[in-house]
């Protein structure tokens, strides 16, 4: 009785948190922003993979290999490396559209606002924007600029600070004029912010945000303790049948993507990769082994030891989707939700695997994620190979992770299966009597 009260209490705490996180206007816009950028991110990732095919550097002469890479690099340089720009447009578009305005103006005003705050000098030469500023380094500023620009723009549109056109003027003309004053006011404010910051020791806003916000937050988010907390939160939400991944992602994606792109920059420059925890560390090595909680190993476990009809049925239903990391059938079907029996392996396995993969990468046994974004529906082993920049060790570490998950789950699956089996036997006996 105490048990169910405790469950009720947790549910009552977690549901409002989930609702707030998922429906927060800024977090929704952020999620949509990344969604807008996703096709471009994947396009760029595909070309990073092709440009770094294994053994190619040994098959081709050094000159030919360099030429090959240089020919393909613009594909990722124009998309994946500067994904911040597309995220900004997406955020501005969605925020303004959501408020009932013309989304496209929200997108462009956000982009322009960000560019105003961006350094426009490359190695003392004016008239250029450093690609690093619109890449990983600029992601936080970009997101904040988009929030701010969209809000200011909306403010002026809602106050009706627009130029009115007489009746009979074509709609497109009216719209372009109606956006003029709000855009001008918004960008003017951004310009003032830029000028104010030029008198501070930070010189540029980008520098300020990077030093004060981005660097400390990414350092924190890139550490193992924060990652374990994130993983535990995801698992806890899911235990109550709430989509933990989407909730935690909406807060941590900016950090994980920034860490990811830092690695990409280093990978393409042939330098040592700075980060272990990245977007791909989470998506490929934590989630990407059958879905949140790495349930592909659980499904395999069911096939290996399941005797009860219920277990076998769950395994059959869950397996095809599980290969592509969709695991709602097993989460709700086994069930994992609200099932005290599996709480221990459910919380423990992903944490142990996170530590295991982290240590393997820190020790240099497995290459760190290369910054390639592998879609989360990519089956395990393939995803590990791709995420580490075409390294077989990436697949092997996933295989070991699956073994770990299986071993942690094994005794609990056994108990569960036995319980189901006994119940079914009794039911069958009762049915036979009738």
């Amino acid at each position: 009785m105490n048990n169910s009260k405790f469950m009720d209490l947790l549910e009552r705490i977690l549901m409002p948190i989930a609702e707030k996180l998922n429906n927060n206007r800024y977090l929704t816009a952020l999620r949509d922003g990344f969604l807008v950028a996703l096709p471009l991110i994947i396009f760029g990732s595909i070309f990073v993979v092709i440009a770094n095919f294994p053994f190619l550097d040994q098959m081709l002469s050094e000159e030919a290999y360099t030429a090959y890479q240089e020919a393909l690099n613009p594909a990722s340089a124009a998309t994946l490396s500067i994904m911040g720009l597309f995220v900004i447009i997406g955020i501005g578009y969605k925020l303004v559209e959501h408020a009932g305005g013309e989304g496209i103006y929200g997108g462009v005003v956000s982009l322009a606002g960000f560019l105003i705050l961006t350094p426009q000098v490359v190695e003392d030469t004016a008239g250029g924007i450093p690609t690093s500023s619109i890449g990983a380094e600029g992601l936080f500023l970009g997101i904040l600029s988009a929030f701010l620009a969209a809000e200011i723009y909306r403010y002026f549109v809602e106050r009706d600070w627009t130029i009115k056109m007489p009746a009979g003027v074509p709609g497109a003309v009216t719209r372009s004029f109606s956006a003029l004053i709000p855009i001008a006011m918004t960008l003017f404010i951004f310009l003032v912010i830029r000028i104010i910051f030029s008198f501070t020791p930070f010189d540029t806003v980008q520098n300020f945000i990077y030093t004060v916000l981005q660097e400390p937050l990414t350092a924190l988010g890139g550490g193992l303790p924060a990652t374990i907390v994130a993983v535990l939160l995801i698992q806890l939400f899911w235990f109550f049948g709430l989509h933990g991944q989407i909730l935690v992602n909406s807060v941590l994606d900016p950090i994980w993507y920034t860490l990811n792109n830092q690695n990409l920059e280093a990978f393409q420059a042939g330098e040592e990769l700075p980060n272990i925890v990245t977007k791909q560390f989470i998506d490929t090595f934590i989630v990407g082994i059958g879905g949140s909680g790495m349930t592909l190993a659980v499904i395999i476990g069911i096939f290996l030891i399941g005797r009860s009809r219920q277990m076998k049925q769950v395994g059959r239903v869950a397996a095809p989707a599980g290969i592509f990391n969709v695991n709602e059938p097993i989460i709700f079907g086994l069930p994992i939700i609200m099932n005290p029996l599996v709480l221990i392996p459910w919380l423990l396995a992903p944490v142990v695997v996170a530590v295991f993969v982290y240590v393997s990468m820190a020790a240099g046994m497995v290459p760190k994620p290369a910054g390639v974004i592998v879609p989360w529906t990519t089956p395990p082993l393939l995803s590990g190979f791709l995420a580490t920049g075409n390294a077989w060790q990436g697949a092997v570490v996933q295989l070991f992770s699956m073994c770990i998950v299986f071993l942690i789950w094994w005794p609990f699956l056994k108990i569960m299966d036995k319980q189901y089996y006994e119940t079914e036997k009794q039911e069958d006996a009762a049915a036979a009597k009738e």
Partner: protein
């Protein structure tokens, strides 16, 4: 023709249900159009639907969707977790039909 809209985070896990529900509808002889969408598409798709069912893992969307569903004049509910786990098309279809009837 009954239009049944399913929504979850990315429209992936609800899409597992779509074919099972279609099967169940054929067996019942009910003419349906069933489709699954990601959470951000659900609101704009509601105008084409007669009922909205939400994946249980996204049940925190119910309040938000309720407002739009009210405007669109369609009923909505969260899919039963057990039926969801079993990918039980028939149970979910019955639920959808029941919701539409009640209205």
């Amino acid at each position: 023709m009954k239009n049944i809209l399913l929504a979850c985070s990315a429209g992936m896990s609800t899409s597992l249900l779509v074919s099972k529900m279609e099967e169940a509808a054929r067996a019942k002889g009910v003419e349906t159009k069933i489709w699954a969408v990601a959470q951000d598409k659900a609101e704009s798709e509601m105008e084409n639907a007669d009922v909205l069912l939400i994946g249980p893992q996204m049940r925190f969307m119910k309040n938000k969707y309720s407002k739009v569903a009210k405007e669109a004049g369609i009923p909505l509910d969260v899919i039963d977790p057990v039926a969801y786990g079993r990918v039980d098309g028939e149970a979910v279809l019955n639920k959808a039909l029941e919701l539409m009837e009640k209205k």
